[in-house]
Amino acid sequence: MKLTFALLIIIFLAFSGYHLTFRHFRLPLFARIFYLTGTEFLVLGLLLGPQFLNLVDPETQKGLAPLTALLLGWIGLLFGFQFEIKKLRRFPLEFFFGAVLEGLITLALVFAGVYLTLVICCDIPNAFMIVVAITLAAASGCTAQTGLAFLSPDRIAKRQNTVKFLRFISSVDGLIPLLIFGLCFFYNPSTGLEGSWLGGLWPGILTSLGASFGLLLLFTLFISHRRFQRELILVVIGMTMLTSGLASSLKFSPLLTNFFVGFWLVNLSRDKERIYQILMTVEKPTYLLLLVFLGVCVRFDSMGLVLLALVYCLYRALGKFLAGFLVTRVNPELQKYPGQLGFGLLAQGGLSLAILLDFQQAFPSRISTFVISFAILAVIYNEFLSHYFLERLFKEGA
């Protein structure tokens, strides 16, 4: 009964909140930042979770795990659909180069910073520490477009090229972080959180590739006929469940596996537009459910979290600033963009959160809860910072 009740509340919140959040923007600016990013859903999740109301206790969370897997799969599929090569080729190649480089530099810098901080501050087994550092670095590598939504049309008109480049980066820069995040799943704990990496790497990669190929073949067979819309809905839901379920059972990431499937589909399937429409139908509620589920996992039980979140946020901001600067200096074609490009890349969106949730589900432990908690706090810091820096970017460039 508790599971049902929790599920009802969560679905209601996601559904009603989606209408409030994404359909009504006439709010004061501060509230708008809060609402548009859906941050309030993290707080709601926290309230529903074990720390406060305990409506979604650990047992209920276990019951909701299939829904979480489906959710992650849905987001992965959606992200994969952003990589339609035909559409990407409409943009200059240096855009793609810039986005990948930006993601990679941020990831490398944050990884180094987080790893060092964890070595100094936390007592975590070394192998698992690498998993944590990769996850946090991967989550920091991704950028969202929410900040750009606040820009006034005249500012966008004045700096159209910069906005276009920022939009492109925020759509694509999650690619490398997500792929590198996939490496975490080859970490094979033998006893507790101690474990080995290399033992499971090659068999793991081969299994994942084999499974992805099989799933893709299956998807292709299902849509080899032109199906009615309602049949296509069934196929998309069924395949996402199948893919997510298989990935979780194989101790792999549903997010990444579905990303692969989405990527191939968008490039090979003639029904890609129809599938994309289906995926988009529930995109916003999915995002809000993701926030609620993450909020439920959070535990704020030490002040150290606030500090660690600040440090993580700082690493990310520095990574983004430096990456933005380097990207606009390394490639001559990109030198026309402002060196402070990184100011426009601070918003941390759905993919980062999905990476965090994926990590939490795959490696449930006291440590992962701790990590998720400060990472979420850092995401909230970022939402506020991003608005300020975006304003500066456009003021300086005006």
């Binding site: 299902f222 049949e231 809905i233 379920g245 298989l246 449930p364």
Partner: protein, 451 residues
């Protein structure tokens, strides 16, 4: 054979798809599950597998002219705990959530399918059918079971009066129908016409009335067994209140849905999914609350609420067609999951244990349905073709009948497991045969939309 030649390429694709799906299922079953996350993955995979495998199998059966829901049920049986065990008892129990959602959703569809103008035209015919089916099926099943049971001494542990009670309850349960199956087949065939409307009207109305009949049968049974002394008028009042309350609540909620469609409009399918699920769970919670806090067993029926809500939107607002479109969007995955899980729940052990008696009861019930629909057809002056085929439309039985049997078993523990075992066995036969005969009937009536 020539007719099927054009389908050979399709069949090859379906075959390969199923082969790969089954391959994945075998693979996942040999994976060593260590963590909760992997367990959750297995559950998610199983749902996806059932959804896709049932859909593919249904496509193959469709080519053979069989109803798609037979395919869903067949895959459920095959994957279920009594055959391959891919879905364990535990999993099937956990998927009850899907069942609840699906039942309410189907009830909304049922209500939305009933159109007042058709019901007005066929009201008398529906009433005559209900009356005759109830009387004849009940009487035939009651007397046959009673005499055969005594003659062959089938239940040596039961007393004479207990045998009468089982016969009485079996008779009432035999009257129950499966609106969900009827809706699924009608939607699959896109059937429309006088015959279809009559069958749907009878089926949905029977779903309401069966609760009343069953309560009466329970009261009579209590008197026979000596646990009750006279007709419990309080119980009848509460029942009337519950039915009226459910219908009234449905009207209010139906108005709410109309308002949503007119004022908000977007994401209707998601809204309806949420609505259906909430109604089901809120009713259960309300019933439990009334029972524990006020000792009143006022059982609001979620299915009645949803039927009434759907009927209100369809007939008392201008957005009936938008409402039906919204329902239609997620209808297929819901039907597939619901019937596959129903197939997985079919108790093959019960059928194995009691198959001669179950087969006998199936035949008797079918004879009862045939006789009653034949006479009803004569009284209603239906075309001769409709009279001949009407019985085929009323065979399916599912959840309601199982629920009633379980309720009776709980009320009369002295009946041991005879009732549920027998009911489960008969339902297994009805649920396999019923959809096939119903589709044939719709085709013969000429009310199936050409593909």
């Amino acid at each position: 054979m020539g007719r099927y030649k054009q389908y050979i390429p399709d069949l090859k694709i379906y075959g390969i798809t199923l082969f790969i799906l089954v391959g994945f299922a075998f693979w996942i079953k040999i994976i060593h599950i260590e963590s909760d996350w992997q367990q959750a993955g297995l559950t998610t995979f199983s749902l996806g597998f059932i959804l896709l495998a049932a859909y593919m199998t249904a496509q193959i059966l469709r080519i053979a002219g069989l109803p798609m829901i037979s395919g869903y049920i067949f895959v459920g049986i095959l994957a279920g705990p009594y055959m391959t065990g891919f879905l364990t008892h535990d999993m099937v129990a956990r998927f009850r959530l899907v069942d609840d959602l699906a039942l309410s959703f189907i009830a909304l569809t049922a209500g939305g399918t009933l159109q007042l103008q058709f019901l007005r035209k066929r009201g008398k015919a529906i009433a005559v059918n209900i009356l005759l089916i109830t009387l004849m099926v009940f009487a035939l099943v009651f007397f046959s079971f009673f005499f055969i049971g005594n003659w062959l001494n089938l239940m040596p542990n039961l007393t004479y009066s207990q045998t009468i009670v089982i016969a009485c309850l079996l008779g009432v349960i035999a009257v129950a129908r499966s609106p969900s199956s009827a809706i699924a087949i009608i939607n699959e065939c896109r059937a429309a016409g006088v015959f279809t409307t009559t069958v749907l009207g009878v089926t949905v109305a029977m779903d309401v009335l069966i609760i009343v009949f069953f309560t009466l049968a329970m009261t009579v049974s209590e008197i026979i067994l000596g646990t009750g002394t006279a007709i419990d008028f309080r119980m009848i009042t509460v029942l009337t209140l519950a039915v009226a309350g459910s219908l009234a609540l449905g009207i209010v909620l139906g108005k709410g849905i109309s308002l949503y469609v007119e004022r908000v409009g977007h994401d209707l399918s998601l809204f309806l999914l949420f609505f259906a699920f909430s109604v089901f769970k809120a009713s259960i919670w309300f019933n439990h609350f009334m029972e524990t806090h006020f000792a009143v067993s006022l059982h609001l029926e979620p299915l009645l609420i949803c039927i009434s809500a759907g009927f209100t939107v369809q007939n008392f607002s201008k957005c009936g067609h938008i409402f039906m479109e919204g329902l239609g969007r997620f209808e297929l995955p819901i039907f597939v999951l619901f019937f596959s899980l129903a197939g997985a729940s079919l108790n093959l052990d019960a059928l194995y244990m009691t198959w001669p008696l179950a087969a006998f009861l199936f035949i008797i019930r079918t004879i009862g349905i045939f006789g009653s629909t034949w006479f009803a057809g004569i009284l209603n002056r239906d075309p001769p073709q409709h009279r001949r085929i009407a019985w085929m439309a009323y065979i399916t039985q599912a959840g309601v009948a199982i629920g009633l049997a379980q309720l009776a078993q709980r009320r009369f523990p002295e009946l041991e497991n005879y009732l549920t075992t027998l009911v489960l066995a008969v339902i297994t036969i009805n649920q396999v045969v019923g959809p096939i005969t119903f589709k044939i009937a719709l085709k013969k009536a000429g009310e199936v939309e050409q593909e």
